[in-house]
């Protein structure tokens, strides 16, 4: 025993003498040995090829005049293909699941004498919500993710991070956040998962929290619809298309600006205590493996995210049907809530229907507009749609506009909804994913409540200033 203690104390004393550098020295000697061995046993073809393709591509994609245009063109192309390409399969799936299968199931349930409320709960509530989420979410994701993965596999995306790093360094973030943010335009949950590529703890949490500021797939249709009705409606007809498209792009850019501002704020405040270590490897280019990419992006990203979304959408469907159908002395729960929230909603330039829709449609941004329409019809006692608690959408924008105008919506409501759609809590799938990725209640809470607080404050001030100017 005495001997052991003696050895230990000698060892401790020696540690003071060795100093702190020995870790470095050990690594240095490992590398030295390794390169000596490899020098002996590895035969290298000494002559370098005259034309290095990698360097050539690098010079173009990081070039002063070519870098940014290539980046914007590629990303714009990916988004354009996603939005345009998703319309057809979306309409197709929607036709099967919503227009055909839904009435069929309902008739079947009626024909075997199932009580109406069970049919309503299961078919109009749970089934319809799940069907809606699948038809809106699946096609864009199935197009966007494989294209994005192909760019990644080819080796282009690390170069985007390389080019964008200067901007992100200034706000205390990592250049790779440009990638996770782009991924967030497809789906925030997938964007949050994608932050795994950032291996520095502080920068990763920043990327996770700010991912929600990327306007996701589920919110693009809302933005486009509202912009067409309210922004397009305020300008002459020949400018309507440009104006509404411009408004949507402005909101998306506003999201990017917010993500930078919030990144900066977070790195200066709550995230001061987290470690930060920058590293970025620029792998060699290689031809993308098409089939493998298609498979992994479909299984790992699309199906995975879709499954989580459906799991959350089903209970939401039940709740949506219940609040619209359970009455207390002749008035539904939804109406009670909407009337209660209306005075508060007035201050932030929204209305009770929108607030309530955002509360019960937390599982998926895709069902916000159908829920808003259903609730507006419910509260204004219109005879449109398919009955209480049954979400619906209309084929014509003009008919949708009629419902919203009847619900008391103004241009201010429209703009505020666009702002609030950008700045509100992430959907429950994303919240759950954030918890899974960070394993921390604190970061999950911040990611959830920071955007909603920002949304309320910005809508409030925007509304007051608008009313002040408009008189």
């Amino acid at each position: 025993m005495n001997k052991t203690e003696e050895i230990l104390s000698t060892a401790n004393k020696l540690r003071w003498k060795i100093g702190e550098n020995f870790h470095d020295s050990i690594l240095e000697s490992i590398y030295k040995d390794a390169s000596e061995i490899s020098g002996k046993v590895v035969t290298k073809i000494s002559e370098k090829p005259k034309f290095d393709l990698d360097r050539f591509i690098d010079r173009i994609v990081t070039g002063r005049w070519t870098g940014f245009p290539i980046m914007f063109l590629l990303l714009a192309l990916v988004f354009w293909l996603t939005i345009i390409g998703a319309n057809i399969p979306s309409a197709w799936i929607s036709f099967i699941l919503v227009d055909t299968l839904h009435p069929l199931l309902k008739n079947f349930m009626n024909s075997i004498q199932i009580p109406w409320w069970i049919t309503g709960l299961l078919i109009d509530g749970a089934y319809l919500a799940a069907a809606w989420v699948i038809s809106v979410m699946l096609p864009p994701m199935a197009i966007f993710f494989p294209m994005f993965t192909l760019l990644e596999d080819f080796g282009y995306l690390p170069r985007v991070a390389f080019n964008m790093d200067n901007l992100y360094r200034r706000v205390g973030a990592h250049g790779k956040q440009a990638l996770t943010m782009s991924m967030g335009f497809g789906c925030n949950a997938a964007g949050v998962i994608a932050t795994r590529i950032i291996d520095s703890p502080r920068e990763r949490i920043i990327a996770i929290i700010t991912n929600n500021f990327s306007l996701c797939n589920g919110r693009w249709p809302t933005q486009i619809l509202i912009a067409t009705i309210f922004i397009g409606g305020t300008v002459p007809a020949y400018l309507a298309g440009i104006a509404s498209a411009g408004a949507v792009v402005a909101i998306a850019i506003l999201g990017v600006v917010f993500s930078l501002i919030v990144s900066w704020g977070l790195s200066k405040s709550v995230l001061k205590g987290e470690a930060s270590a920058f590293s970025l490897e620029l792998p060699p280019y290689r031809p993308p493996r098409l089939l493998q990419t298609l498979y992994t992006s479909l299984i790992d990203r699309t199906i995975f995210v879709l499954w989580r979304a459906v799991v959350f959408a089903v209970p939401a469907g039940l709740v949506i049907w219940l609040v619209a159908n359970v009455d207390i002395s002749g008035i539904s729960i939804a109406e009670y809530f909407i009337r209660g929230v209306d005075p508060f909603a007035f201050f932030i330039g929204l209305n009770g229907v929108i607030i309530f829709a955002y509360v019960i449609a937390i599982p998926a941004n895709e069902i916000v507009i159908p829920t808003v329409l259903m609730l507006t019809v419910l509260t204004t006692k219109m005879t449109l749609g398919a009955g209480a608690g049954v979400m619906f959408e209309l084929d014509s924008t003009a008919a949708t506009a009629n419902i919203l105008h009847a619900g008391g919506w103004t241009v201010l409501t429209g703009i505020n909804l666009m702002l609030f759609s950008l700045l509100h809590n992430p959907c429950s799938t994303t919240i759950y994913t954030i918890y899974k990725e960070t394993k921390s209640l604190k970061w999950t809470m911040i990611s959830t409540f920071l955007p909603i607080a920002m949304g309320l404050i910005i809508c409030f001030f925007f509304t007051q200033i608008w009313r002040l100017i408009a008189g």
Partner: protein
């Protein structure tokens, strides 16, 4: 309600919320700070100060304690008497000294303080100038067991980021060595072993000059009003009063590094150089990451790619292209090769 009224009410409530909840200066933080029992903190800080005097072999008086704790003479006398009552110090005439119990208590607090500083430097992105004040808070809130766990997770470090030795669990600490920079003679090579972290303003100035423990310097001129020296190849100028905050040890002939090092950031496009070292200012995870990439002395690097805005830069290191930011390549030393 009138929009103007709500606008003003909105701005007003945001200001009120900020005043209440703002970290560090908000009412809640101030209130918590006020309510906190400071007597333990004072006792521990006084012990630390006494130990510091002992370590530097200078005499310690009531005045110096009250100065270091920024307390009134009356309150300091209270602290001293409670320390005496706890049998942690003894006082003879005007000289106060630690009892063995007091010394081991002081060493424990110093250990916790320096472990925290090491942790803050290696594992967080908290600013260098804030390490000391954060550790000053944490040292009173950390139990012995927590400190041991912290030490284990840091790999039982020996010195804190300022170059001070960290006492071991049993309270062992090596003898103080070295001389202050203002006592170094002309034409001598030396290594910085310690930079005093108090007062904060002086430390901020020294760290802004890029000085760090482990840095090699060469004294060019030591006169009454200025001290001129070369640090990692760059000439620095200090007032003697500032230089007294730096402790150095002269280094032997064979360790001496006479040539000027270049920084990796100064390497031009498509040029190659050999790495000779990584600055001590590169710490923790960041340093390990670089070592993992093969950034060790002897490795050849080549500047390969410049990003759109000039920062970061892509370097060819052991067959891979690694992008490094300028604040990283500023801390890597290279030597030209043919």
């Amino acid at each position: 309600m009138n929009p103007l009224t709500s606008l003003i009410a909105g701005i007003f409530s945001i200001i009120v919320l900020l005043i209440i909840f703002l970290p560090e200066v908000g009412i809640i933080t101030r209130w918590k700070r006020m309510r906190k029992d400071r007597s333990r903190e004072r006792i521990e800080d006084a012990l630390k100060h006494l130990y510091d005097c002992e370590y530097k072999s200078v005499d310690c008086s009531l005045n110096s304690i009250s100065g270091s704790l920024s307390l009134s003479g009356e309150k300091t006398a209270q602290v001293i008497s409670s320390l005496e009552a706890m049998n942690l110090i003894t006082s003879h005439e005007n000289k106060i000294s630690l009892t063995p119990e007091g010394r081991s208590y002081a060493l424990r607090i110093i250990r916790i303080h320096r472990l925290w500083e090491r942790h803050l430097a290696d594992n967080t992105s908290i600013q260098e100038t804030d390490w000391h004040s954060v550790a000053e808070q944490k040292e009173h809130e950390t139990s012995r067991e927590e400190a041991d766990r912290l030490a284990a997770s840091l790999g039982n470090p020996l010195i804190d980021p300022h170059g001070d030795p960290i006492p071991s669990i049993t309270g062992e600490i090596p003898e103080r060595e070295g001389i202050t920079l203002n006592n170094l003679e002309n034409g001598i090579f030396a290594a910085i072993i310690h930079i005093e972290d108090e007062p904060r303003e002086v430390y901020a100035q020294l760290s802004a000059m890029g000085l760090y423990p482990g840095m090699q310097i060469y004294l060019l001129e030591n006169s009454k009003d200025k001290i001129r020296f070369e640090a990692d190849g760059e000439e620095c100028l200090l007032a003697p009063i500032l230089a007294s905050n730096i402790t150095v040890v002269p280094i032997s002939e064979k360790e001496q590094v006479k040539e000027k090092f270049q920084l990796l950031s100064s390497l031009k496009m498509n040029q190659a150089a050999m790495i000779v070292g990584i600055s001590k200012a590169m710490r923790g995870q960041q340093r390990r990451r670089l070592l993992d990439f093969g950034v060790v002395p002897g490795t050849i690097v080549r500047t390969q790619l410049e990003s759109l805005s000039g920062d970061p830069t892509g370097y060819e290191i052991r067959g891979a292209t690694i992008a490094l930011r300028r604040n990283q390549s500023d801390l890597i030393y290279i030597k030209q090769v043919d």
